[in-house]
């Protein structure tokens, strides 16, 4: 077997190791963890919707720990300014001289957890989203590249709607996927309680670093090379286009969704050790990629259909 193939095998094994290590701290939530890793491998950003206390910060921090990535957290509030996130120039004295130096904000990390992004003002949201999109920050006429790999996980709280600034559809489109965390099952919750209230030091269980940032960049490059059959690709595009024509959908997904769907399907296929994209990958990634990009019609709401229900119907139709 040739050397590149062995290399790919090794990287795919590392990804298995990542999931195993994260599993030491996170009980259940396998789909969310998979979505999170898919998003990292596809070099995208994720929007996470969950109620408080479901372990999203622990999950993201653990992923950063096992992947040798820098982690930072931004707690969004209405008084948060863009410069609080991106950084600002400050005057620094050294050797009797004063000079402006750029003090990097928390966005200069590999993994950024932007908690409750809908609490920040639209201006701050726009600055964060622009940084996500451009992978760079401009301050005082200077452009600073963000570290690579760069991954933002923004969370939204669906319960508390007071004093929030919901992200407009155009902004949410910048997130590659939207993950929804649900409450764990009884058994999972029991395991969580046992894990974090049991004996030992009482702190979070230790994990090993199993993937370097260089390897992540290598994987990101390989993911884009994963071959996809023409008919699978065309079907994925038809699925996205169907959201624009469906009666129950008021606003459909953009071509960015088509790209996102194919890319995440490739990342999922790679993570599962496959050399090609299967329709199963597209099906699995359809809801995470499309659910925040479409706006349902009143007819769907009248019939009690959720966004995921409509997407599932469209998947069956195409």
């Amino acid at each position: 077997m040739s050397e590149p193939t062995t290399d790919i095998d090794r990287l795919q094994q590392r990804l298995v190791g990542v999931r195993k290590e994260v599993g030491k701290r996170i009980v259940g939530q396998t789909e969310v963890l998979e979505g999170l890793l898919v998003c990292i491998l596809a070099d995208g950003n994720a929007l996470l919707e969950s109620n408080p206390g479901l372990g999203k910060t622990t999950m993201v921090r653990t992923v950063a720990d096992v992947t040798d990535l820098d982690f930072s957290r931004v707690q969004n509030t209405p008084d948060l300014m863009p410069s609080d996130i991106t950084g600002t120039e400050i005057i620094r004295e050294s050797g009797g001289n004063r000079e402006f130096v750029f003090e990097k904000g928390p966005i200069f990390a590999n993994v950024v957890l932007a908690d409750e992004i809908n609490r920040a003002t639209p201006k701050t949201q726009a600055a964060l989203l622009e940084a996500m999109q451009e992978k760079q920050v401009t301050a005082a006429g200077e452009t600073y590249d963000l570290p690579r790999p760069f991954f933002v996980l923004a969370t939204q709280n669906p319960i508390d709607q007071e004093g929030t600034y919901p992200l407009p559809e155009a902004q949410t489109d910048r997130f590659l996927i939207k993950l929804v965390l649900d409450y764990p099952s009884y058994e999972e919750e029991r395991d969580i309680v046992n894990l974090y209230t049991g004996g030992g030091s009482g702190s979070t269980p230790p994990v090993e670093k199993v993937l370097t940032r260089e390897e992540i960049k290598e994987i990101q490059s390989l993911v884009r090379e994963v071959p996809i059959a023409d008919d699978v690709r065309d079907r994925a595009i038809r699925l996205v286009r169907a959201t624009r024509e469906a009666e129950t959908v008021e606003f459909g997904a953009s071509p960015r969704a088509s790209m996102g769907l194919v890319l995440t399907a490739k990342a999922r296929a790679f993570m599962r050790g496959r050399n090609h994209v299967s329709w199963e990958d597209v099906e699995a990634m359809a809801a995470p990629v499309l659910r925040h990009r479409i706006l349902l019609d009143f007819r769907a709401e009248r019939e009690g259909l959720s966004t995921d229900d409509v997407i599932a119907e469209l998947v069956d139709e195409v």
Binding site: T5, V226, P227, A229, D230, D231, V232, N275, H276, V277
Partner: protein, 308 residues
């Protein structure tokens, strides 16, 4: 075929795996052709036999004579190679129509079966390979040489070694068709032996004239019973005759055997009553050639008797 097998570039410039995939795809298409031909051959054979049987039972093909002459040009190779010469070569019109229908069925069958891309048929027969092979096929067509594409080619080639094109062949269908062919063949032989014909059933006036559908112009082997009549037992003679042998002039009875035999021939036979000859009976077991021989000998004996 709607598929392309290559872009026409120099094959030696391509990575080994990609070349192998191209060769594998060519091999798969070849297997598809083989399967299409197998189906077409058995279908065509069945169609030929059924049409031949139907035409034979119906007493011939409408608007065609019972037998058609074979063009001499077709027989020339037979004469030149094997030295076989046929006086008036003919062939049954039912067989000719059957073969013609069989050829049409063959052509239509093959055309229908290769209309769907052969590689897709192979993929359908091997579901485990379906997505990977299709992806590899598209990747080869798009000339992709990435690391993941090469890895896919390697994996597909390994899977192809374990795959089989037997799935392309519906063995149950083939078995049923072969059974039908056997049944129709047996029926065809039976019809030829029993000489069933439905021709003229609607016209009662002809039925008394036509004997078993035999053509009056036919000069080949014929039914011996029909020509010679029913077999009958030859009656055994019941009259006792007294014969007197004249021994005068040929020595006494104490001569040698040779002398006795010569005296018998010279003496002749004279009975008190005349024995009337009877017509020789015919038994079915005797062959035609024997009858001819007996007849010839009889004629010779009569000639000799007349000469005496």
């Amino acid at each position: 075929m709607s598929e392309t097998t290559g872009t026409g570039d120099d094959e030696s410039d391509r990575p080994t795996e990609e070349r192998k995939i191209r060769r594998a795809l060519t091999q798969i298409r070849r297997e598809g052709w083989k399967v299409a031909v197998i189906y077409a051959v058995i279908d065509a054979t069945l169609a030929t036999l059924v049409v031949n049987l139907a035409a034979t039972v119906a007493g011939g093909v409408p608007r065609l004579p019972t037998r058609l002459p074979i063009p001499r040009a077709l027989l020339r190779p037979l004469r030149e190679t094997a030295g076989v010469t046929l006086a008036e070569p003919t062939v049954s019109s039912a067989a000719v129509v059957g073969v013609a229908v069989g050829l049409v069925v063959f052509a239509v069958d093959v055309a229908l079966r290769v209309r769907r891309p052969l590689v897709e048929q192979f993929e359908a027969a091997n579901p485990a390979l379906q997505e990977s092979l299709r992806t590899a096929r598209d990747a080869v067509r798009a000339d992709r040489h990435s690391r993941m594409a090469r890895r896919l080619y390697e994996s597909v080639l390994a899977d192809l070694k374990r795959a089989s094109s037997v799935g392309l062949l519906d063995l149950r269908r083939v078995a049923v068709t072969v059974l039908l062919i056997t049944a129709v063949s047996v029926a065809t032989i039976q019809v030829a032996v029993v000489d069933i014909s439905l021709a003229g059933l609607d016209d009662g006036s002809d039925s008394g004239v036509q004997t078993g559908g035999t053509d009056a112009d036919y000069t080949g082997l014929q039914d011996g019973s029909a020509i010679l009549g029913d077999p009958e037992d030859v009656p055994e003679g019941s009259e006792d005759l007294d014969a007197t042998i004249d021994t005068s002039g040929s020595g006494s009875g104490d001569g040698t055997d040779a002398e006795s035999a010569a005296s018998y021939e010279d003496s002749g036979f004279a009975g008190p009553e005349t024995v009337e000859s009877q017509r020789a009976g015919f038994t079915e077991r005797e062959q035609l050639e024997d009858a001819e021989l007996i007849r010839e000998y009889n004629l010779r004996i009569r000639e000799e008797t007349d000469n005496e």
